[in-house]
Amino acid sequence: MGNLLEHMGIERDRVHFSWISSAEATKFVDVVKEISDKVKGLGLNKKFVKDYN
């Protein structure tokens, strides 16, 4: 799925996959931090955005 999105021009770092058990609180924090850092780094998303106006 990531590959096809990337193929369509969506930045790889916008889509993340992880498997986190409810007992892995620290992993959850780490993954979310990493995701938000990477997505902030990419800036505003302009693709696959629906314009409701």
């Binding site: 799925m1 990531g2 590959n3 096809l4 999105l5 193929h7 369509m8 021009g9 969506i10 930045e11 993340h16 996959f17 992880s18 498997w19 993954v31 990493e34 693709k47 696959f48 955005v49 629906k50 314009d51």
Partner: protein, 315 residues
Amino acid sequence: MNTCIKKIRELSADLLEKGEVEKVIGFAKGTIPMATSPIAIQKKQDVNKLVFNSTCGLNLANYVSKGKGKIAVVTKGCDDRNIVTHIVENQIQRDQIYIIGVPCTGMVDKPKIAALFEDEILEFSEDNDTLTVSSLLKTQTLKKQDYLKGNCFYCTHKNPVLYDVLAADLVEEQKLDNLFPDVDQIETLDEDAKWNHFENLTKNCIRCYACRNACPLCYCPTCFVDESDPQWVGKGQDKTDVNTFHFLRAFHCAGRCTDCGACVEACPMGINVRDFTRKLNKDVLQLFGWEAGLDMIKRPPLDTYRPEDPDDFIK
């Protein structure tokens, strides 16, 4: 080609006469030149309606559904792999179907031929590798090899893999160094150029869903695009909704698509929706060594787990 049609008719007449099958699904002459349409023949006296030529670009596996009686179907290499996929996915049982396999020499790209003419095409005929096409203004002789459909150009499974009988001799399969040069080409683009490529590709899409309807893989009783509670995707012409539809349709075909090209054949707007599915076909071949519809026993990659499955995308 003519001996092949004769054979298809003879076999069909025989099957219907003996009552071995309830109906034969094949191709019939279309209402305009350079066209054929699917037909279900139930009476022996109708078998002469069956034809086979280079304009049979639709996929007959799409018309094979669970019923009480046994049905016969005429299959090209790709249709045949979709029948195998149907069996693997439990859409039909092997003993419910009688397969008349046709080793295939490729189907022609009708829009490409039509583009050579200013006016309407009035006649189309073929003799092995030579096509003769005429309109009111001119007659042109073409080499079939130069006018193959995109998917047939890259096809390496022209012979049916599963059949009860063959309607012609097996053909030689082509060997290609690279099965996906078109996908590779898109992969060389940068992110914005890729995005533009797909936005341009689908900009004329009218959401008629002919591509979905022509595809044998799309047998869900209610497709996600038709669902209204929840509504997964907007139903209008908004370009984000259009691309969401195409992205998801392609993904639903992952590891199942045989690149038969029926989706493209059916599209009234000439959109090569295979640009989506072929990326998945390439990935599934590279990551899982899988091509759809070649094996009735093996489970498809999306249906099984192996410890060595590639998982570098997951944290």
